[in-house]
Amino acid sequence: MLTPLVVAVTVVAGALTVLGIASTLARRRIGLVHLAGAGVLEALLVVQAVVAAVAMAGGDTPADTASFLGYLVGALLIPVAGVLWARTERSRWAGTVIAVAAAAIGVMVWRLLQLWEATGA
């Protein structure tokens, strides 16, 4: 697990949260910028999952492997679910849906890092 990657995810997730809230305040549905942001976020999460999988294959497993994997896989699903759910929302609350999903990711990656750093301790 790379701290820079976690920081990058946090920055993108934070930006997406702000953009989501902005479109709700502007009484707009979600636009391209939200889809692009969610795409970047998902790509970073996939990279993170691959990095973690490679490290674990190399024998470097966190103490609480089950929780770690749960968060890792759960984090991959949330942006996708958020986008699908927000796209069907025709009111201005679509942006808030995206914002909640992004904020959840921002918290989850730090929890992931915490679990990772508790390697076999």
């Binding site: 479109s23 009484r27 609480d64 749960g70 759960g74 958020g82 759910w85 929302e89 025709r90 609350w93």
Partner: protein, 147 residues
């Protein structure tokens, strides 16, 4: 004329009884159902003997979140009642467990979603039922349907 704002096309007005805030609440509940459920599953499967009460409470919290999510998604009178019951249990749960975990920390050797009023989760577990009840109340207040 096409609306090309980067923030997306203009929203449709939802009128008085908007479904939008409900949808946001559903997302929050779904995230918590997932978080509490995954956590409880892991705890029960791997360390049940260490803190059975805390882990069973986590599992209970997860079930309550799932029921509330389903009730909110389904909507209608039955859905609202289901959600109302689940959210009431949730509010009582977070208040009782939150208080007990502060008064008698020894009884809660491991964190649950509701420990310390949801301190480990940014107090969102305390906020959620309040928002949920306010929203349900507002919608029940619509002339269209009795509570």
């Amino acid at each position: 004329m096409r609306d090309r704002s980067v923030l997306g096309p203009a929203a449709e007005s939802t009128g008085g009884s908007s479904g939008g805030p409900t949808r946001v609440l559903v997302v929050l509940y779904a995230v918590f159902a997932l978080a509490a459920g995954a956590r409880a599953g892991v705890q029960l499967a791997t360390r049940f003997h260490e803190a059975p009460v805390a882990y069973l409470l986590s599992a209970l919290a997860a079930v309550v979140y799932v029921v509330a999510t389903v009730g909110l998604v389904r909507g209608g009178r039955t859905g609202r009642r289901t959600a109302l019951a689940a959210i009431t249990v949730e509010l009582v749960g977070v208040l009782v467990v939150g208080t007990l975990s502060l008064v008698d920390p020894a009884a809660f050797p491991d964190e649950t979603v509701w420990s310390g009023f949801g301190r480990g989760y940014g107090y969102v577990p305390l906020l959620l039922p309040v928002l949920g009840l306010l929203l349900l109340r507002r919608r029940a207040g619509d002339p269209a349907g009795p509570a």
